[in-house]
Symmetry: C3
Subunit: 137 residues, 3 copies
């Protein structure tokens, strides 16, 4: 069983982490009942990534964005003329996809984990891919 | 063929890389003889990740931990009240999962590669997931 | 359907990002017509990673390499006697593999995305693995 879906995701700030866990769970609920396998959530963008981290306290995302801005500031003398090299570098450091186990139609996430779309050059109209590979139990 | 297992993994220090390659190989030996596919090793935690790196000389892990502590120190003025934002950020930078090819029941690892559970907020009782998707050759 | 191939890839500098998208597409064209699933591109090395980022303007890779050299310089007092700890750390930060959806024999890549072999301790004779798992539509 293979499932591939693309979902929209609009960002409101230059750098932002959007919790997309419920959108991903919606797909599982409506289409992957009783299926087990591996779920790939990927970003087709070069200045926006995907990560799994704490979804309970939003200050974790705030701290992460603050620290990333400090490690890779916007205003460096990069050669890329578009002026968003920092966003490309942040994307490479965080990664453009995550893989999660699916057991019996349910995403295997830890208690505090959520899936985040990580915008580094917004605000923009974005999208992300959900790809599932697996079988019925 | 889908296999999903959860294994315990206890850490002894605040920041530590545990070589879990033999635990992963044990599962392959006992349950995935002659199978080929993709193996996902994932952490259900938000302050501990998974990576693949050199398993021969332990000083590589020591250098990596030292450098990560320097890039993301513990004592910054983070807003997350729990005081472990550095651990969340290190986890996002390293990633919470790795994927490896399995060919004929054997993990495709390079000569020097090993799989590591990366603790950034220990010591704690932890666990990690092993998910295999594939078929008999 | 499982496919596993290993391809050579030689690097010319100590730190370098090689665009390997066409080599990957070649495999898809010749062997995965009409197949859909997940493609894993992985590095068997501990001082070279794999990432997905902008393939249009080479200055993005130049900026990324420059910034990574700044964050993890070569000449630190690392304990690993081989003297290439910086390369191990860069590899862990970037990651050793990427996963991409394949739909109907085609790699799902964004407009600006390409797949890169990231050398951090070259020049060397290197290789990378392509593993596909999926089925006919």
């Amino acid at each position: 069983m293979i499932l591939h879906e693309t979902l929209p995701c609009n960002t409101a700030r230059r750098q932002e982490m959007l919790n997309i866990t419920s959108e991903v769970n919606q797909i599982l609920l409506s289409k992957l009942n009783n299926y087990s396998g591996i779920l790939l959530v990927s970003s087709p963008h070069t200045t926006a990534g995907i990560t799994v981290n704490e979804a309970a306290d939003p200050s974790v995302c705030a701290d992460m964005n603050e620290k990333l801005r400090e490690i890779v500031p916007v205003d460096r003398n990069f050669t890329h003329m578009e002026g968003n090299s920092d966003a490309h570098i942040k994307t490479a450091m965080i990664g453009t996809s995550v893989q999660l186990p699916v057991v019996n139609g349910k995403l295997v996430l830890g208690t505090w984990q959520g899936i985040f779309f990580c915008e580094y050059d917004g605000p923009r109209r974005r999208k992300f891919n959900i790809t599932f590979l697996g079988d019925k139990d």
